[in-house]
Each structure stands twice: as structure tokens, then as C-alpha cells.
Symmetry: C2
Subunit: 318 residues, 2 copies
């Protein structure tokens, strides 16, 4: 039973119930799928996308009770065109049906009128002739801040109206995030990095959406790969939930991501995709047929590692 | 007959042949469509998207011989989910069939492996079990540079491999583009705006793709709404083709966009969406039934205004 309705509260309730800060990224690449899913398939986009949905469904079935959320990366579905978007839609629906928070990693952005179109379709409602309907109906989406407030406000409307969440890119996990996000900007006598400046905007955009647990529904993407930056950003955005990519395949460690949390043991969800999705490749206990079990093992291991690191830091909540 | 193959050359050949620097944006919103398209429709996404494709086909039929390119904004299709993406795909194919350059306004961006997925699907090829196929197969796409080189290089691969184009956001047309893009950054003794810094990256990313006409296939998005910034950027990126949004509904004038061109009378394509798509609403000569003719009139008018402004500046090529 959900007591609270704001996105941040719904997310935190799942975290506390499942004792997990881990988000399963769903970034399917056909070539990497277990061979059992490929039998008799693979020479049309329809075949491929059927295999992709089967793969996702198995991963969701294997992990829905031990993580608060899944994060499909829409690029891996768009890649396969209209059929891919069908698989995306089915994945989102299936995840929600299993009680998971579903966060779309889409990094959308545009000018105001266009950002409205994105938000309508991904978070909010669109108008038909006699009624409004939800289309993709995600719980949350990642958003790029390069165009400034005009491109954020339409999403904020749906955050409030439909109790959704957004995660704004502040400091991304990739090596070249330095090229723009780490530049020093000056205004008067003040000198700060671009990501520090963005943290102030995130605070401003989120200030009216603080939930019962003290967190805003306007979150931030902060990469696990730059722990010192994360430490600073944690201080600068005390009420912001962090979506932390870069764990596992990208090199982020459990000891690194501790800095993304607050003293209350909350404030961050840690995403991993490749290390969970394709866990069967590195797990001799299970054959490729049991890729779901291998994924579950990888998630249990990650839950354990994250929780252990938090305990060591004296901030494990449970 | 196409003589040259690089994206920039293909684009310029179309510009010269049609004596037009205008790009028709296709940003369909169901509520704004002429009533003739709505008869018996509108209470399902399928109905709406059928009307949207009919609308686009009429606009393309009405303008394909007088513009070099169309620019569907994918947000307006994603908004309507999987059905919307079908209409998007059909629109792209129809535009190409009519000989137009089709530029997807998508502002995609992500870390390297994910940017590869986007580029595979939108510009390049995806692998099936026995062959590689093009999925959306656009001629060009707009890309957000916030994540730095990692997120750009996969697109550059397809620019070279499949003779495609990208347009990188440098200075967008919306009022709040100031919030991030106009900040002053410092490095040593050098102080410059973010968009100036980005212009150097665009030059670097594009330097190996210069075509027969002297332009790179790595373009830049530069808003019509900030003519002084455009003037500076024109100097900073002499070999970069500009995609210039913001003309018409957003307030950009023909006299403003002259600064986006080089002395050779080339270097910019000017996009307008709302003022062309919904021209029938402001045109008493045609009823809403003849929205295609109204759009054609609006394009002819825009061609005339842009060409007149270029002539006044002494740089009209034809």
C-alpha cells in the first residue's frame, strides 16, 4: 500500500521496503542476448524486438522484488525503430505491473513548446478528441539542462500534475563530461564549475516538490565515476535525489558511491546495466539459459556491496 | 543527378537547385490540424497519427519543389507513442522519396555506448542476424553537446561511413538559452562564452568532413533570435553549416538571419515550423481545406524574404 504520492516518496518507500538502492538498467543489445532467445529469430526487427522484450521480462521477473526501480535506456529501443518502441512500451508496462518505479533514461531536451510535447508523451497526458490519455506514462525521465529553464518547466508541470519525477543531468559518468560540465564559469567575483552552477538551478526547480521524506521530485544525474564531484554535489543539493550511473561496467565502485548519499542513508539510487543484464556471461554457476538467475545474483551482490559500504560509512538505514 | 555525396554537398546542391535556404519544420499538433483531417477521427492514437501523416504528406507535396529540406521534430511524434513513431517513419520516407533532405530534430545525447545506439538507429545501420539494415535512415540529426566528445564521436562515425550530417546545438533560439550557453567560462587568461567554446569543438569535430563546396557535414544549431551571437559564431565557424531555428513564430526576422550566412551566400538553412504548418489559419485566400496551398504560399513568401535580405546584403548567390 502506498501511503505517499509524490514521486520521491514513492521511490523512497520502495527503497526502504526492498532494502535496496539499486536500479536495474535495461539496455538490451540483440548481439549480446543469450542464444536461447535467438532461436529461429533475428532476421527482422520484429523478431529481434520480441527477443528483447522476452529478455527484459525475465530480468524483471528475476529482480522486481529486490530493487526499487528499473531504468530502460530508450536509445537501445529507438535503435530498432518502431518495433523497438513497442518493446520499450511493453517493458515499461510490465515493470509497472510488477510494482516497480520505471525511470526512462532519455536525456530529452528542447525549447518550451517542444519540451511540452516530450513531457506530454513520456510523463503526462495527450489530448484526444474526447479525452486525455497517458501514452508512455513513465514514473520519471532524465532531462538535459543545456537549453535552460524553458526546456525544464514543461516537465515540472507534469511532475506536479501527475506526481512524476525528473532527473536533470548535472555531472554525467562519461570521461568527456569534463569538457563542458567541469569548465569554470565566472559571474562577477564568483568562480565555479558548470555542474556547481547547475546544482543551484536543480535546487530552484525542485523547491516546490519536497515530499514527506524531505526529498524533491526533481532529482539529478551524478556519475559514480567522479566521487569527489559527487561529494561536493551532495552538499550543494541536500534535498535532491541522485540517480547515479557508472557503477560496474563504467568503473564506479561501492566505496565511491557512498558520497552520493546523505546522513539519513537516503538520497541516491545506483544504476547498473551491463553488469546485470549480461551477468550470465561471467557466471559459471548458471548456463546462458538461466540468465535471469545470473542477473538476480548480480543484483543481490550489488545490493550487498552498496549496503556494506553504507554500513561502513555509518549510514545504513536498515 | 547527384554529383557529390557528402551531406553538406548534397544539401547545398538542393539549395542551389531550388534557390531556397528554407527548411520546412514538420511539428504536427492534432488540435491545430485543419478540420477536414479530423472528420470521423481523433479518439485513438491511430486515428490521430493517420491524420498527422496525411497532413505531413500534403505539406511535403505542396513544398518539396521549393525547399531543400524538411525537419520533422521527433518530439511531436513521440508524444503520440508508437503510433506517432510510425507516422514519423512514414514522414521521413515520404520526404526522401520526394527528393528532400530530411533532418531529424531530436537533440539526442548520451555517453558513448548509448550515443552509438542512437546513431545506429537514426543515421546508420543496425545488425540483424544475417545483414545490416538502416532503420530510420535520416540524412541528418540534431545533437546536444552537453556530454562532450564521447557522445559526439559515434555520430561522427556514421557521418563518415554513410555520408550523413549532424547539427550540434551551439546557441539555441529559446530565451533561456542564456542561462547556460551565454555563461562566461575561464581557462587561464582566456574568457569566453560557452557557445564560443562550443564553436571550437564543432570546428574540431567537423574538420575531416569538408565537402566540395567547402563546408563540413558537422553543422551547428544557431538560433535566429540572437543575431549578434550569430554574427560572432559565423566568424568563429567559417566552414560550418548553420541550421537556424526561431524564424517566424519565435520572432526571428529575415534581416536577422543574414548574419548566419557567409559571403558566398551559403552557410545557413533557415527553419520555420508553425508559421508554415498552420499558415492556413492566417490566410484568407484559402479555406482550411487548402492548408497545403497556404503552406506553399508561406514558403514562397519566406523564400522571397530571405533571398531579398541576402540580396540587400550583397550575398545572394543566384
Amino acid at each position: 500500500m502506498t501511503t505517499y504520492e509524490l514521486f520521491s516518496d514513492r521511490l523512497i518507500e520502495q527503497v526502504l521496503r526492498k532494502k535496496s538502492h539499486v536500479v536495474v538498467g535495461l539496455d538490451p543489445v540483440y548481439e549480446k542476448l543469450p542464444s536461447i532467445l535467438k532461436r529461429g529469430a533475428g532476421d527482422s526487427l520484429k523478431d529481434i524486438c520480441r527477443a528483447i522484450f522476452d529478455f527484459n521480462r525475465t530480468l524483471i521477473d528475476a529482480t522486481y522484488d529486490i530493487v526499487p526501480a528499473i531504468k530502460p535506456q530508450v536509445a537501445f529501443y529507438e535503435r530498432y525503430g518502431v518495433e523497438g518502441m513497442k518493446a520499450f512500451e511493453k517493458t515499461v508496462r510490465y515493470g509497472k505491473k510488477k510494482g516497480l518505479i520505471v525511470i526512462e533514461d532519455a536525456k530529452r531536451n528542447d525549447i518550451g513548446s517542444t519540451a511540452t510535447a516530450y513531457s506530454d508523451g513520456h510523463l503526462g497526458r495527450v489530448r484526444l478528441s474526447s479525452r486525455n490519455i497517458a501514452v508512455f506514462d513513465l514514473d520519471a525521465i532524465t532531462v538535459n539542462p543545456f537549453l535552460g529553464s524553458d526546456g525544464i518547466l514543461p516537465f515540472l508541470f507534469d511532475v506536479r500534475e501527475y506526481r512524476k519525477g525528473i532527473f536533470i543531468l548535472v555531472k554525467t559518468s562519461n570521461p568527456s563530461s569534463r569538457e563542458l560540465q567541469d569548465l569554470y564559469i565566472v559571474s562577477g567575483n564568483k568562480k565555479q564549475k558548470v555542474y556547481e552552477y547547475l546544482s543551484q538551478l536543480v535546487n530552484k526547480w525542485g523547491k516546490d516538490t519536497i515530499g514527506e521524506y524531505g526529498y524533491s521530485s526533481v532529482g539529478a544525474v551524478v556519475g559514480a565515476t567522479f566521487p569527489n564531484d559527487a561529494k561536493l554535489l551532495r552538499k550543494l543539493m541536500p534535498k535532491t535525489y541522485f540517480l547515479v550511473p557508472g557503477f560496474g561496467a563504467q568503473g564506479g565502485q561501492a566505496s565511491d558511491i557512498v558520497h552520493c548519499f546523505n546522513k539519513d542513508g537516503l538520497g541516491a539510487i545506483i544504476a547498473a546495466s551491463r553488469s546485470i543484464n549480461y551477468a550470465y556471461k561471467n557466471n559459471k554457476k548458471y548456463g546462458s539459459k538461466h540468465y535471469g538467475s545470473a542477473a538476480r545474483d548480480a543484483v543481490l551482490r550489488m545490493n550487498f556491496e552498496v549496503n556494506k559500504a553504507l554500513e561502513k560509512a555509518g549510514i545504513l538505514t536498515w
